[in-house]
Symmetry: C2
Subunit: 781 residues, 2 copies
């Protein structure tokens, strides 16, 4: 039988001096009162007259169940800040507990700094309570409109990884992070407990995770609520923590206060092997201090208090009466002065320095440190050579790390070397801290095979003012699709919230794309993350597909400097031709798209047909198709265009980068056939181009079409119809409609080209080899 | 200090009789030889002549590092099946280890059953080895083309949850599941360890998880590789397992054989409180038995053997020589007969009954049990009444559960009651097994706050022949976006693989949609999963937005019976008007879309303008707009169309359901303006409609536009321009272009309607109430 392990035991009796204990308890009572009143009352917010149904809001929103726990932790963090000057942020997984957080922010007077109407007086008090969860007021959920917030908990699972990201390179910061026992069931949380293994105490702060076990989700018990202390202690000891279980309801404030102290004791600032960071398991009844029962059902301590207990308080006199007794139980007259502010004792646990208050931390509001981007042209490569875009970017990132030793990090799911960005390891390492052989010290690279942790840490790092980069295999970035969308929603609200200053962009590089995942097969072929970005608000969304190494360098340098966007860069890690000189690349990237004269007939003047490449390999095929056509159909006047900034295609006015009708027609002609050879799903182009006048009838397109297996790179092109022969056939058929010299024999030529394609296909099946010149620059003669 | 817990200790010395031990070791050697040879050789596969560079493949693919562990487990499972008649499937997380799996399948002669060319002789042997990872041959990855497979490991994290799904309602089945220590870092895996808490041994089989710790990912150590035995034991004991660590390399076969026996000992078939299921931690060097070192670098036991060790064997004589010695070390002549089959001793561990062989299990290939769908009309509601689509569906699911007590399950992330499907609890419970208070016995509902586990279990359950349903809040289904895509890729290949019979569809219900997540706010508003389905191969993809309860019932009944699709159904849980009688609903759903005469002017004959609703709430607004227009602009001839099957809109030929041009024009007219009021992102409609001739110039559309907060339902419509006033304004402006009687004053009318919209908006901001008649059926007079 297994032997037992034990949670940390502490002497907690009389841990707090009487005055501190009382202050904490008053703070909690005040916050609980406000949270409850906020959910229910649209008037009579201090119960100064008899509670009537007319005082009750029309719609009752906000989740009561988690509130008492959230404000308890808030009170204790405040006490420690006040006493020790601790620098702390508070990350709340259960975002539906907004009433608790808003109450605490008002109690510490952090609301009125940003929204002057929420003063610490009767008027501000009433405004906050009555405007909660009504249109135009605070939403029912912690979001970017709430001061001090760097995480919106709506989609559960990410509070912990965000917290770890926030403390990186903030050596004095301790993030207190509450994880609900619902959230703890999610995969992203389950693996994020390992996050401390990526925190080097010499350069970063610490996270104090508090698992709040109140036992219930919306309507069912939680897994953690069914685990006993022994199981929970075993589990988190296995994760590497020192576990402290706080469950003594009768003396919980002493218990929690003593427990939080062990966090500080653990912080030596020294890098040690297998340090035992503390974590706290807080067991309290769901909806603690709320109504005990109603209509014969338990409320407190059951799922009935998850959301709004007494949901019929406006119409059911029994519930109204219960609400009255519940609210009166907090004795508001002991908590608020006549003027409507919190009583002095409550204020005695609030930090005196406003910058130390949880709601007014610089990191969360205006902490942005611009990244110093080195001159990318130092890493540029000669036109006409072959280079891996990623190798070039790796060198640029190496320089970026040198110039930004404490404000730039790379978060990568174990693929940095595979993705050929490993030049960064010339100047830094992997920040993995666990055993003796793995003691990254100051490493700028977080490599963990969890896209969720990478994304969470990137968010926490970015939203506290620094800059990060998330390179990934293209197929697997979609794993964090919804996390990215949630982040973009947060950013949209942050931008609309005037007191928040801009922060860095979320920067993604997708490489190891479907076009070169012929060896790993079908499961590794999925460009759908582009579509995820296209669904964001246009003002936030940027998608780039730089066609060569110089363009990629220019794009990365731009993205790292940009603010408040979600930047997606898609490119190749294999050596591919460098089409443009550094100067040309710069101009091309600024324009977003250009005619590539060198690949066009007569520099692209007066074309019969326009061939457009968007993406590295598919552009290569367009250029090869143009060469084929010069040979097989010299009468056809071909213009080759490359698009590097996808958004220029959007219908005019739909996106800040969208080309005007005039600019669009200058580039693509006003009336000639256009064939797009696109890296992503064709449907994305359809969505972008829709609405551009007179375009529909003259456009054809091919792109990734969910076809692939383990095969050769050129066969990947063939089976998705993005190969040179397919492009040439499209060009011939379309060109014939406008060029009478091509028309008579376009059919024969296209049959011939189709025949060549079939021959290639047979060759590939038989020999299993790449098409010889897949990435040799074709000669243009 | 914590006390210690210990892993299980066993007497393992001489556990296996000598002949069994030798047979196991020969099986392993043969599989390892074949896996290595498969990666490298295109000729001379038995090394019967001197190995030369010409024997080496042009491209070396497949991951060697994980292969020896995978075939070791395969050998041991085979031995147990042979000896005890165990029913087992083998789920392999490290899918890149295909060479090992293919080798074992050939050794047990399961390939030739489906692909007669892979016989157990010299010819079949050579074909398998030389065709691996070349175009037209087996891909480098385990996928649907590999017999016995129900899981493709390309995107890591799901092997364990798929395994738990597979054993549900298969009481005699034990799934052996290997999880790599890379995969173990993912969030989905980290939470899936709790999966055993949802297995009732009275009705389901068991999973034997084997965590294969070989210490390295592509280029870095793993988290689990850095954890010592104590930490790993603590962690998995905390998850509820009995942990057995197998790490004695010198005697590993006795060790593993003894350890696997504890699995069988643990299975009493009784439902007990906190049963301790066993799990095995298998510690072996990465690429064990491979080359020890090359060019001064360690290969075996390091990340250098993760993929192809000796990657330059074709060009580097030193590597070629090392390869030769490596391959010779297995002594192939002791493993294969002159005829080319495995020697008798190897066959002595292979199951004799073909149906028991891991590669020929019925569950994985042809185990589909059609679901008995009850008559949905029994649950239908009266036309003209109000009903929640989900309440009606809940009643239908209740009957479905009654008629399919062992072949139908619901996988839900803790929202079944919130999603109003709780009628199912009349006849079943939640299948949660942990402590005394949570002992679901035979419950058909899995509720766990992990979309990843729900999806993985659903996949495992479906791919072994049963039928499942995954209801979810709309915003959070995207969490499993890429899992669904991977599954669809698997299904596409399965359909193309003739020997696999069809299986049930993957069925999703999205409810609690953005249109009614006004209370939970912006984070709960995200209809992007529709777009994920639209990117699949059209033959697999189905999206339905049934407009009322009767239509939803008809749709669910259809989807549960359908095979091989991914079905997404989107609807409302709030009471909404029932527009159609059961018979009308059936016809409407068969057609996919119809003119709604009752809401149109003169039954929709000769319209000036066509208004199209797609989705519950937005269709309601279209109908309300039509009523407004009848009042304010009676001259305008309005046709109202509802689309319930989104795919009918696709350009002709693009999807099996796409309307022909003629049918499209009959429904939407050939030349009149059309306004779409759509539940999803408008870009999706653009993608679908693109290419339909002459449509672009006469179409306008609105849909979810990433606008929202905590507000009223009607304000959600207003801020996304899907409200009745916006629809009416669109109709007036467009109608004026075709109806001269409307033209002269359409501008004034639309300004007036815009004014009404602003008034509503102000009202909502001030009063925070829903628009009164948001879901009262408007009167049409």
């Amino acid at each position: 039988m297994p032997g037992q392990i034990y949670a940390v035991e502490l002497k907690t009796k009389d841990y707090l001096p009487q005055d501190e204990l009382r202050a904490i308890q008053l703070f909690r009572r005040a916050a609980n009162y406000m949270a409850a009143a906020m959910i229910f009352l649209k008037d009579n917010v201090l119960l100064e007259k008899e509670l009537s149904k007319d005082d009750i809001k029309y719609r009752l929103l906000g989740h009561w169940g988690t509130c008492p726990g959230l404000s308890m932790v808030y009170a204790h963090v405040n006490r420690i800040i006040r006493k020790t000057g601790l620098d702390s942020l508070y990350v709340v997984g259960p975002g539906h507990g907004a009433p608790a957080i808003l109450a605490c922010l008002w109690l510490e007077d952090s609301l009125s700094t940003y929204m002057p109407e929420y003063t610490q007086d009767r008027e501000g008090f009433a405004k906050l309570l009555t405007r909660f969860s009504v249109p135009g007021g605070f939403p029912s959920h912690v979001n970017a409109q709430v001061p001090g917030t760097i995480h919106e908990g709506g989609e559960l699972g990410y509070a912990l990884s965000v917290s770890f990201g926030a403390v990186m390179d903030n050596p004095d910061l301790v993030v207190t992070c509450v994880v609900g026992d619902g959230e703890a069931e999610t995969g992203p949380t389950a693996t994020s407990w390992h996050g401390h293994k990526y925190i080097d105490p010499a350069e970063s702060g610490a996270v104090l995770p508090i698992l709040h076990v109140n036992g219930f989700k919306i309507s069912e018990r939680t897994i953690f609520g069914c685990m006993d202390d022994k199981e929970i202690t075993e589990l988190f000891t296995g994760y590497g923590y020192q576990v402290r279980i706080v469950a003594d309801l009768a003396d919980i404030d002493n218990d929690l206060a003593a427990s939080m102290e062990i966090q500080q004791a653990a912080r030596s600032g020294q890098s040690i092997v297998k340090p035992r960071w503390p974590m706290i398991v807080l067991r309290t009844p769901k909806g603690w201090t709320g109504p005990k029962e109603m209509h014969g059902e338990l409320i407190e301590g059951s799922f009935h208090s998850h959301q709004v207990p007494l949901p019929n308080a406006k119409t059911d006199p029994e519930e109204l009466s219960s609400l009255k007794h519940w609210l009166l139980s907090y004795k508001a007259h002991e908590l608020f002065t006549k003027e409507g502010g919190p009583v002095k004792e409550i204020l005695s646990v609030v930090p005196t320095d406003p910058h130390k208050k949880l709601g007014q931390r610089k990191e969360a509001i205006n902490g942005y440190v611009p990244v110093k981007t080195p001159d990318w042209k130092q890493q540029a490569v000669g036109k006409g050579s072959q280079e891996s875009c990623m190798k070039a970017v790796g060198r640029f990132l190496r320089e970026t790390i040198k110039e930004n030793p404490h404000t730039f990090r790379i978060f990568s799911p174990d693929e940095l070397v595979s993705n050929k960005l490993d030049a960064v390891f010339d100047v830094t390492g992997r920040d993995f801290q666990w055993d003796i052989a793995s003691r990254g010290q100051g490493g700028r690279v977080i490599e963990i095979l969890s896209e969720h942790i990478c994304q969470g840490m990137l968010q926490g790092y970015t939203l506290t003012g620094r800059t990060g980069l998330f390179p990934s295999y293209e197929a697997f970035l979609g794993i964090i699709h919804t996390m990215m969308v949630q982040y973009a929603k947060f950013t949209k609200m942050a931008v609309e919230t005037k007191w928040r200053e801009p922060h860095g962009s979320l920067n993604y590089i997708e490489t190891s794309t479907w076009a070169r995942q012929e060896h790993n097969g079908f499961s590794h072929q999925n460009p759908s993350f582009i579509g995820a970005i296209l669904n964001l608000k246009p003002k936030l969304a940027r998608v780039y597909l730089p066609p060569d190494a110089n363009c990629f360098l220019s794009t990365v340098a731009h993205c790292l400097r940009a603010k408040n966007y979600v930047n997606l860069m898609v490119g190749s890690k294999q050596p591919t031709p460098v089409w443009l000189s550094p100067e040309e690349a710069d101009q091309h990237c600024i324009a977003g798209a250009s005619v590539w004269k060198f690949a066009s007939v007569d520099d692209g003047v007066n074309p019969d047909v326009v061939l457009v490449g968007i993406g590295v390999e598919v552009t290569f095929e367009v250029i090869a198709a143009a060469a084929l056509l010069r040979k097989h159909a010299p009468e056809l006047r071909v213009r080759v265009v490359n698009v590097t900034d996808l958004m220029i295609l959007a219908n005019t006015g739909f996106h800040p980068h969208a080309l005007s009708e005039e600019a669009f027609n200058t580039l693509f002609t006003a009336d000639k056939p256009i064939h797009f050879n696109y890296h992503g799903y064709p449907v994305e182009l359809k969505g972008l181009l829709f609405g551009r006048r007179g375009l529909l009838e003259r456009v054809t397109m091919e792109g990734y079409n969910e076809e692939g297996t383990t095969t050769s790179p050129f066969d990947m092109m063939i089976c998705n119809n993005t190969d040179r022969f397919s492009v040439a056939v499209h060009a011939l058929i379309a060109g014939a409609t406008v060029n009478h010299r091509v028309a008579p024999y376009s059919h024969a030529k296209s049959t011939y080209l189709d025949h060549l394609k079939q021959k290639e296909k047979c060759y590939i099946m038989k020999h299993g080899k790449d098409h010889d010149d897949m990435f040799d620059t074709p000669t243009f003669d």
